[in-house]
Symmetry: C2
Subunit: 123 residues, 2 copies
């Protein structure tokens, strides 16, 4: 039987049924929240799918770790700092960040920045 998390938000403020929201402020992150859309609670052993939202002026932590990320920008505008690279991103853009690559997302828009982040199993 599939696990369904129905969308119950609206444009600009995504939210889903049976998906709790966590503050995402560790490691230098500012103005962030996190929702685990698919993870261990859904019985998913092979990957996890998370939604992150960063308020205008906020940022994710400057991260560097052994696992990789696939990111899909749902809404807003971001500056991605990745090692010595700086890339501007908009809704619909897709990014693959390999293992051990430093990375940080900064909201450079006027609206919440929202993105989906796929990773190996973790919540």
């Amino acid at each position: 039987m599939p696990v369904v998390h129905r969308f119950k938000g609206h444009q600009g403020r995504p939210d889903w049924e049976d998906v709790p929201t966590y503050e995402y402020t560790q490691g230098g992150a500012r103005g962030g929240l996190k929702k685990v859309l698919i993870g261990s609670a859904d019985g998913a052993p092979n990957f996890s799918l998370r939604y992150y939202e960063i308020a205008p002026g906020g940022q994710s932590s400057f991260d560097h770790h052994a696992h990789d990320h696939g990111v899909y920008i749902l809404q807003g505008r971001a500056k991605l700092i990745a090692g010595w690279e700086v890339v501007e991103l908009e809704a619909g853009d897709v990014v693959y960040i390999g293992a051990k690559e430093e990375h940080q997302f900064i909201n450079i828009g006027q609206q919440p920045l929202g993105f989906i982040c796929v990773a190996p199993p973790r919540d």
Copy 2:
């Protein structure tokens, strides 16, 4: 250095730079196309992220396999047949389909059905 696939489509017809499009018609699928947004060509060893689009009246194959799926509906309306379950889905809905669960997506809307499908590494 991150791999970026910039969005170059428009609302209703997503498309990305440096991402080829394949017909998706095997196994009973009708009216489908597939784009691998993150996969082996991007050096991703842990997961793959694909975009599927199904034309109005079309359907994915009725599938049953050892790997699991995480699905995020980007646009359109779907009927998901999953074993004996039937679930209607809309943009923003998230579904986790476990290993060996039978599943088929049918476009029941007037617009292209588009969804992101995460899976263990495969293209």
